[in-house]
């Protein structure tokens, strides 16, 4: 299979790789670039574990071909912490015990980040809707919902 060049920005850093044509973004991120924060769950677009943010929109890296991301700005959970300080969403997930095995957590956090970027003070219904494409088999969803709401409160307090 011919290899094709792919260039995009990943968490603020320029990335350039040669990949096999038809490689999914999930595969390219994990196996070529070494960002293992997006998880390969169902590979069908059902579980949301592979969710990443591409040009500001939540998308599923398991169903996105890496070649279609040329020139894109891609954000993953691995890029959220800055200088060793966790992102407020990551901190809230720890504080609310919203993560157990952690497999779904990166995808959930990216879905929540898109929500809070657009809706800084979401309702519980907003959170449920935003996370409706993400499956968690460990915690049940209530701690996750509470964590996102707590992160939103923390953000608004910091902004005040």
């Amino acid at each position: 299979m011919a290899k094709v060049p792919v260039q995009f920005t990943l968490n603020g850093s320029e990335k350039a790789e040669f990949i096999e044509s038809g490689t999914t973004l999930l595969h390219a991120l994990r196996d070529k670039i070494g960002d293992t924060s997006p998880k390969g769950g169902c590979h069908q677009g059902t579980c949301g574990a592979c969710s990443v943010i591409i040009d500001g929109e939540l998308k599923l890296s398991c169903l996105t071909l890496a070649e279609t991301c040329n020139g894109a700005d891609i954000r993953t959970t691995a890029g959220l912490a800055e200088a060793g300080v966790l992102h407020p969403l990551q901190r809230a997930f720890l504080d609310a015990f919203a993560t157990q095995c952690g497999f779904c957590t990166p995808g959930v956090i990216m879905a929540a980040k898109v929500l809070l970027d657009r809706t800084p003070n979401p309702s519980r219904e907003d959170v449920v809707e935003a996370l409706s494409g993400n499956i968690c088999r460990c915690t049940g969803y209530e701690p996750i919902i509470q964590a996102v709401l707590a992160a939103a409160r923390a953000n608004s307090q910091n902004a005040a």
């Binding site: 096999e20 038809g22 969710s51 998308k59 398991c62 071909l65 449920v128």
Partner: protein, 264 residues
């Protein structure tokens, strides 16, 4: 997965490439990449098109034109498309809606394709190749279609004339038990003067409920007057059986949900 992706700037060039054996069109990827991930070895290469017109939404003179690459998310947030937004929001979760396209939804097998159900009720036309095809004919022949769909068009329904219902077990997002779309024109006294009802999950693709449509003509939307339409809605259906629901269950609850939609 071993796929070769070819990217074209024009539909014309992509159409030529699509004629090669084993080649499929790549829109949002929610069907074809999923299929490849599941091991569909009938697909060996993909083509896609970056032509900007494919992502355009035009609303003018009561007529809507959606480029085939328009996503469900774009429809759901468009200020002039509030009437059909519920059908777009019924498709998957947020990430899927950011990827799933109008064109792809036309090819989605049951239990998917909820937006195509809405388009069928709206009597949409599908533009592929050089001509327009009524959606009912397009859906009937979609398995043999080799021309890239470029757009769908429909008349924007008047307020409260269009109704859409998706029934799922998981809220707010879940795979369809069934979906129903209805376009109803009514006289000033509430009598139904025309009706188009489309059903999802009642066959392998969206279908019309033509007997129920006829039974609604001349009726007012009351429990008594819609009863014949509810009794007739199962005529000609062949529901799917999947992990979400059996064919028997889908057939049993179809009139219940149609009744709720009509009386809502």
């Amino acid at each position: 997965m071993s796929l070769a992706l070819q990217t074209f700037s024009t539909v014309k060039d992509a159409n030529a490439a699509l004629q090669a054996s084993g080649t499929r069109y790549l829109g949002g990827g929610t069907l074809v990449v999923r299929g490849a991930n599941e091991g569909d070895v009938s697909v060996s290469s993909l083509v896609r098109v970056t032509e900007p017109s494919l992502s355009a939404i035009t609303v003018s003179g009561g007529r809507v034109q959606l480029g085939a690459s328009v996503t469900m998310a774009a429809i759901a947030r468009h200020p002039d498309l509030a009437a059909v937004a519920p059908a777009a929001r019924a498709v998957g979760g947020p990430a899927i809606r950011n990827m799933a396209t109008v064109g792809g939804n036309l090819f989605a097998p049951a239990p998917y394709g909820d937006f195509a159900v809405a388009l069928l009720a709206l009597d949409a036309t599908v533009t592929a190749g050089t001509g327009e095809t009524p959606i009912e004919a397009f859906l009937a022949g979609r398995d043999d279609s080799r021309a890239i769909v470029t757009a769908v068009g429909f008349s924007l329904p008047k307020a409260d004339s269009f109704r859409f219902l998706k029934v799922s077990r998981v809220k707010p997002k879940g795979i369809s038990v069934l979906s129903i779309a209805a376009l109803l024109q009514r006289a000033a006294d509430g009598t139904v003067t025309s009706a188009r009802i489309a059903l999802g999950c009642m066959a392998d693709r969206p279908m019309r409920a033509k007997t129920a449509e006829k039974a609604l003509l001349g009726c007012k939307l009351t429990s008594e007057e819609i009863a014949p339409a509810l009794a007739a809605v199962g005529e000609g259906i062949a529901p799917i059986t999947d992990p979400i629901a059996s064919a028997w269950y889908r057939a049993e609850v179809l009139p219940v949900h149609l009744g709720r939609l009509l009386l809502s």
